[in-house]
Homo-oligomer: 353 residues x 2
């Protein structure tokens, strides 16, 4: 498989394991016939699932693993005892250079712990972050961190800005992504100390391939005010889950409204096509998958409860990222910025002779 | 006006001032004919607006003020120079005992600064919080803090739990509200130190009239998992604005979907009644108004951009709170709890002889 685009797959991850992973790979294969999949897991189960997807056969190579990480395993335990799991070995394939990215629908905490341990953070990056693709009124934005860390220093927020911008460049095809720091008011006086210091550093930085736009608020995320929204993992995770909860709540109200009367049910029949398009737009499977950024290797986390369509979206993302050479670009960008005294590489500052 | 229910009103607050405030008071008057309104502001403008609302005349007393706080005034400046403003004098009426609560649609930062200065925090409460009423699938919940403070210690989070529970008791008519701490995972290991310490204290506390249910996540807010969601003002403000943004975004998708084809437009006509009910459910005016808790007086903040219906909702809230005797109940509750060593008042622990 060398020389080709290879994606490593945790075949046992997620609530359903192979019965979702293999059909998901089949869907991804139709869109990316050039990609090969190195699938780790229980060989008998994977082969059984593969029998129903004959078109996929040539694109897949199975590596049998005896063990799997359970969805409720503690990350620390999985890290200590899980060296023969499909998750560990799938990540290991990236570490060894056998694959350019790994996709897992398994336990997020265990995946992050194993990925940090095996791949290590990029030199100059203190902490990895989980980035999410957020559908907006305008198109799509990147939000990070959505849960890798519970707190973030100003230096880490600056790293997240750089990482998020490179991710946006690779998957949203933007040459110079706009970046905003999530805060509780547009005025410079509001917000906590880390957010203010990070804003200061991003304003003073030169040579970065991003366009820093200052602070944004919670309602700016869905509006798509900036391409990349930077925040700590505590706030980002709560924002993401609050938005998901709000979407589900409104969907429930809407269903209820259409069942309320005969007229409404008739209306539903006429409007069904439009409503299906609406539903597709707010379908969480379309933007399935958080991405771990800041590590020496690409890791895509698919939702544990997703179906084949959702898993395929996560694989799409892994392909886009592998082709975008994100890791080396992040490594280069973080070297350009020193926090505190803003260091400018020779010739990097605009307008110097 | 002594002996009666009196609500003090900042007649000049909000984007529109008297032209929204007076019609709002008229709507509130129909629901609460027993309430009297002490309205501070430009007498000529208030009288002009009042001429269009003759039914309201007997319920209103106007107090002329020469000055008003602008929506973009800095809180510190408003506090120093704004002693003749409608906002300052409306709060002062509560401080003097002339009114049981004050309602303003003005500048939030200035209102909080003035309210803290004039009313002071309740003995035993370190910081006031802003509470919001959040519509849920189940009914309504209270979320606090949504923006009074950018950070919160464990002690302050415990205070917020107590304040939120008393607020829920008064406005949602619950005898023993359930309370959850907003966090990024249900496992006890996740979350920052303050959140974990606050959970520990609430678990060990006795004699409080609330039912602590541990941690909740962002998607639990809209689901109505608990009656009161406690968080710091940074996270709470971002959650609130993210939910508002998501609702607006989905509303936009829906409008678009119904305009897409003739069939969909026909469907819309049949389903209009149901959709209007849906719209009423997600109407932000229905739960308009944040409430400042933890001060020696009741302060309700209406959205600055609201209309008369929204302003009336904020006045409803002030009436409910005034009748619920929230201030004295919070003062009693915080005295029962000592943070660190949990102190139990004599006879307060269940099962002791």
């Amino acid at each position: 498989m060398s020389g080709k685009l290879v994606i490593s797959i945790d075949g046992m991850g997620g609530d359903e394991g192979p019965s979702v992973v293999i059909p998901g790979l089949e869907a991804a294969h139709l869109r990316h016939p050039e990609a090969r999949f190195l699938v780790f897991g229980d060989e008998a189960k994977l082969r059984a699932a593969l029998d129903a997807s004959p078109r996929l056969r040539d694109a897949v190579e199975i590596r049998h693993t005896a063990d799997a990480v359970a969805m409720d395993d503690k990350p620390s335990q999985a890290l200590r005892r899980g060296r023969q799991t499909s998750m560990w070995l799938a990540i290991d394939a990236v570490r060894q250079g056998l694959a350019q990215a790994v996709v897992s629908a398994g336990n997020t905490g265990a995946l992050m712990a194993m990925a940090k341990f095996q791949l290590r953070t990029i030199a100059g990056v203190e902490r990895p972050a989980i980035a999410a693709i957020w559908p907006t009124t305008r198109s799509e934005s990147i939000v990070l961190d959505v849960g890798a860390n519970t707190e973030a220093t100003d230096k880490q927020l600056v790293d997240f800005a750089i990482m998020g911008a490179e991710f946006a460049r690779a998957v949203l095809n933007l040459s110079r992504p706009t970046v905003g720091l999530l805060n509780i008011g547009a005025e410079e006086l509001k917000g906590n100390e880390h957010v203010k210091a990070a804003a200061q550093a991003l304003r003073e930085a030169h040579g970065l391939s991003l366009d820093f736009r200052g602070f944004v608020e919670g309602n700016d995320i869905g509006r798509g005010t900036v391409d990349v929204v930077v925040t700590d993992g505590f706030t980002g995770n709560i924002a993401l889950k609050t938005a998901e909860g709000t979407a589900r709540q409104i969907g429930g109200y809407l269903r209820e409204a259409f069942q309320r009367s005969l007229m409404a049910r008739i209306g539903y029949v006429f409007a069904k096509g439009a409503l299906d398009m609406f539903r597709a737009k707010v379908d969480p499977r379309r933007s399935n998958g958080g991405v771990f950024l800041g590590l020496n290797g690409l890791v895509v986390k698919s939702h544990g409860g997703t179906d084949a369509l959702g898993f395929a979206s996560a694989v799409d993302l892994a392909v886009d990222m592998a082709e975008g050479q994100i890791v080396s670009r992040i490594a280069r960008d973080v070297q350009r910025l020193t926090f505190g005294d803003v260091e400018v590489p020779a010739g990097g500052r605009e307008g110097t002779a």
